[in-house]
Symmetry: C2
Subunit: 181 residues, 2 copies
Amino acid sequence: MPREEVVERLLTVFRDRGYDGASLAELSEATGLGKSSLYHYFPGGKEEMAGAVIAHLNEWLWVHALEPLTQPGAPARRIQRMVEALDECYAGGKNACVLGNMVVGAGRQIFQRELRKSFGAWIDALAKVLADAGQPPKQARERAEDAVIRIEGALILAGGLGEPTPFRRLLKRLPHDLLAD
Amino acid sequence: MPREEVVERLLTVFRDRGYDGASLAELSEATGLGKSSLYHYFPGGKEEMAGAVIAHLNEWLWVHALEPLTQPGAPARRIQRMVEALDECYAGGKNACVLGNMVVGAGRQIFQRELRKSFGAWIDALAKVLADAGQPPKQARERAEDAVIRIEGALILAGGLGEPTPFRRLLKRLPHDLLAD
DNA sequence: GTCTATAATAGGATAGAC
DNA sequence: GTCTATCCTATTATAGAC
């Protein structure tokens, strides 16, 4: 099995259980690999597995959600691309956010640097497209930050309520709110 | 030590570590009680401890943040009361949200009912004050939900970035955004 | 590369003395 | 009520055969 496939299966476990809640037993079951095989792929153990998952997610996020924000075209169109990518990534609000879940417990300390970088890149990319839309830099940054806040918060609320509707509602109004006068 | 004091100390551990990350060793250390003493207070073990923590937080949230929303007075003033309470509860963004962290991992299944009730009550109380301010019911509900989303999301982002500023910025603009035309 | 077996430790929980 | 001591299981991780 290609390493990327392994990482994608590990991702589902960290996404659903968080860093502390993800056990090697479940990681093994999700990949179909024995524990020792996992250590062959990731000598650093669980920490390295989670690191690979975060790196993989960052790559996905960049290619499918952030890079489209930097492409030529109308800002509204570019933002719509990101929204569609997020809708797929989070399965319309049924999936939790790996980054958001990593903030909890031991993951927070271990991956502080990566989390900072991931959230920072996200905000940067959004601020840029809003600046392209003619918004003053400070407003663009504040709204970009607010968008990430809302996405993460909507996934938390969807998880807490046990229904994805808050996230779906958010995605629907997000492009308008970002570009409103 | 009064039970309430014990629960408050347990709360700090679940808040910082999440449900899966909170170990009996740390819960014991935080309270200054041996494991057996904890089981004297909470025969149901860790699950009962976390349940007591959630109940305690709900009580605090109601008394300090939600009940003021229902009091007579100008909506803007009432909302300001809630904001001040949240600022204290989350230490200006330095503390995580117990409810938000409980959504991750095993806590999500175990406390689904409680989480649903907590978030629901919060949204209800906010929607009510916005309706009092003259907003149509649907708009009041959507904005109330959005406020909870933003609060939870801002705490996640603050945790991920390692700095409380996103939360502080959010609290500052929240009253205006809720009551805007 | 993947497996079985096993170590070593940490986890949640209980018994029983005081 | 609180402690010490202990139990059992799950957990992370490694060794070594194939």
